[in-house]
Assembly symmetry: C2
Homo-oligomer: 195 residues x 2
DNA sequence: TCCTCGATGAAAGAGCCTCTTACATCGCAG
DNA sequence: CTGCGATGTAAGAGGCTCTTTCATCGAGGA
């Protein structure tokens, strides 16, 4: 809600939104502070009042993405069977990645310095925690085991998502058949946990 | 071997080398054609005689990386036990990624347009083929099954590698303990294939 | 031997970008 | 109603990519 012609009123939010939009359209590399400012209709220097630099704008989008990812994973219902549940969580992860591939890439972009944006590491920690909670019943009481298995499940889901996002699995999966890879992998993995 | 002071003689190779070096030092985003030219000691326009653009230089480094990855995976000995073999291949994949994380990122960088550099998709196909060969004994005769399982193994290895490269698994693995995640995941997966 | 030609280099510039510095304008607290 | 902090603009330094134009080289034919 702009309070006046001069002062935007909520420039920070507006910039965040247009940044997310630009990333979706052109990818992280295609995004520029200049164009974000232009689209919002402010001068090129204005964004620097709200964000340290270009990287900080991308980091903010990434952080927001992690929050939504967390909600998505938390929203997966427990179907009773713990193997089925693990599969469902991994499928939700992959679905999230494919829903907005550019944002997913920004969330895991190497170009963002984690020392300057420690909140990103926290987000990763929360994903890890959520998976641990979900796996406790499947894995058993060993705390170290739960931690390790959560990392494994995350790795499987993330690997499928990353390769799909990068179009490296095109030969394998037919159209709309993406989930068979992640489902197959997680099912085998979860089955193998018992044996 | 410079043939003269004016003509470099092997500028293309020299640029490739310094590009790989720059990527290792500063990451894909930190790399610039200008600095590569400066380091080799030629004008800024010279690289454009040998590469279409900046992206082509990165793509060349990525392609070379895929070749070496292929060799690394092919070089994994068959220890007899097919589960152990799958684990060893995945560990080799992760080891390759950690040996030069920046190059690994470039190999899977979204910023490189695959339409303009189809050789990168071919490389991915070769990795896929290699894994299929390695898994044939473990999976059995079903050709479609081999294809799917190879994609799964690749996904697991790639997921662990990507998360380790992005420092997202720091809480889980102690120093030098990275391999436990990929080994555990692949072992469970391969075990579950049978059951 | 000389000369031409194609390949490979340099020089210079257009246009874009990030980020900084100095200044203008606003709303609000006292 | 006044002064101050927050938030905007203007202008510019310095860097980058890529293009265009020109200079220089090596090699092969006359």
């Amino acid at each position: 809600m702009p309070k006046s012609a001069y002062h935007h009123g909520d420039l920070r939010s507006a910039l965040l939104e247009v940044t997310a939009q630009l990333v979706r359209e052109k990818g992280a590399r295609g995004f520029s502070v200049s164009e974000a400012a232009r689209r919002v209709g402010v001068s090129i220097a204005a964004p620097y009042r709200h964000f340290d630099d270009r990287e900080a704008m991308l980091a903010a989008v990434a952080t927001r993405g992690f929050t939504e990812l967390q909600e998505t994973l938390d929203g997966v219902a427990d179907p009773g069977d713990q193997v089925v549940r693990a599969v469902a969580i991994a499928e939700a992860y992959v679905g999230f990645a494919l829903a907005d591939t550019a944002r997913f890439e920004v969330m895991f972009a190497a170009s963002i310095d984690k020392d300057r944006h420690p909140e990103l590491l926290e987000c990763a920690g929360r994903v890890q925690s959520g998976l641990q909670d979900a796996l406790r019943e499947l894995v058993g009481d060993d705390p170290a085991g739960v931690v390790r298995r959560a990392a494994e499940l995350w790795s499987i889901a993330h690997g499928v998502a990353a390769l799909l996002v990068e179009d490296r699995l095109a030969h394998v999966v037919g159209p709309a058949g993406e989930d068979t890879v992640v489902a197959g992998a997680v099912r085998a993995w979860a089955t193998g946990l018992a044996g």
